[in-house]
């Protein structure tokens, strides 16, 4: 075996490295893309492909050893958000939504205060519930509840006030609880 001939910088090497470090996260990226697009498979696939190609082009700037998955998720999220904001046009400066909604107990809480339902409902149902939310509720849920971004970060990404983020998260969470309540009723987990 001959010693390596200086740094290997060929495209083959780059592709091999990219496959090993980045493409292993493809399933996770697709999951995120599906949640963001509300389960729209063709759109989610385009989103993943665009993000992967962007990542590949900037691969030289990716610092080996840092969190590649997080980096790819950020690229995908930003790609989605750019499109989202373009579609929405200029965000309203003031969206008059009542943020003082009370966390009134949901039917799910009243039927199952211990939350045992969360161990019984199958995963596909919560995913369907998230993907079934209208976009303006779904996106904050994906960003804040699934990805763990702060209200401020969601506000900046979506171009909506923090108060609106709060209000939409509140309403989205209550909607999800209602949907899960319906599933639980259908399945006979609660009465």
């Amino acid at each position: 075996m001959s010693p390596p001939q200086g740094p290997v910088t060929g495209d083959d090497e780059k592709q091999r490295e990219f496959e090993e470090e980045a493409l292993v996260h493809l399933d996770a990226l697709y999951g995120l893309a599906l949640r963001l697009t509300g389960g729209d498979e063709p759109r989610a696939q385009d989103l993943v492909q665009d993000s992967i190609l962007k990542a590949y082009r900037s691969w030289d700037h990716f610092e080996t050893g840092t969190n590649c998955r997080a980096w790819l998720m950020t690229i995908l999220r930003n790609t989605f958000i750019n499109d989202f904001r373009r579609r929405k046009g200029r965000p309203d400066d003031v969206e008059f939504e009542d943020v003082a909604e009370r966390p009134s107990s949901s039917s799910l809480y009243e039927a199952d205060p211990e939350g045992t339902i969360f161990e019984r409902i199958i995963d596909e149902q919560v995913i369907a519930a998230i993907e079934g939310l209208p976009e303006e509720f779904r996106v904050p849920v994906v960003l804040a509840d699934l990805e763990g971004l702060s209200y401020q970060e969601v506000s900046e990404l979506m171009g909506i006030p923090v108060g609106t983020v709060k209000s939409r998260l509140f309403r989205a969470r209550k909607r999800l609880q209602e949907t899960l309540y319906q599933y639980a009723l259908e399945m006979g987990y609660i009465r």
Partner: protein, 109 residues
């Protein structure tokens, strides 16, 4: 059942605490009495999301240690949010997509 397992400050360890107080945005209603059930229930999500200032958060911690009415409510919401977080981002197998992506990468050469 006590003490609460919600953890100090409620934030589920995933976000930096925000410095600003809880009520913001267009919240036009008067602030609830400090340390009351009303205050705790109003900020349940901000508390669990780690978005409250430390004083309000500490007051809610204190309230939850003793309030039998609020604690189960908070516990339920925490279970719900943990559940979303755990299940929501599930990947989906993407063999076909992987094939397309590889093709496009090769075409770049």
């Amino acid at each position: 059942m006590s003490p609460p397992e919600l953890g100090e400050g409620g934030g589920r360890g995933r976000r930096a605490r925000r410095a600003s107080p809880g009520p913001e945005g267009g919240d036009r209603s008067p602030p609830p009495p400090p340390g009351s059930c009303e205050e705790s229930l109003r900020y349940v999500y901000e508390y669990l999301d780690g978005e409250l200032d430390s004083a309000t958060s500490a007051r809610i911690d204190e309230h939850l240690r003793t309030c039998r009415r609020c604690y189960p409510h908070f516990n339920f919401e925490r279970l719900f949010l943990d559940y979303l977080r755990e299940k929501g981002l599930q990947a989906r197998h993407a063999e076909e997509l992987m094939r397309k992506v590889r093709e496009r990468l090769r075409a770049l050469e």
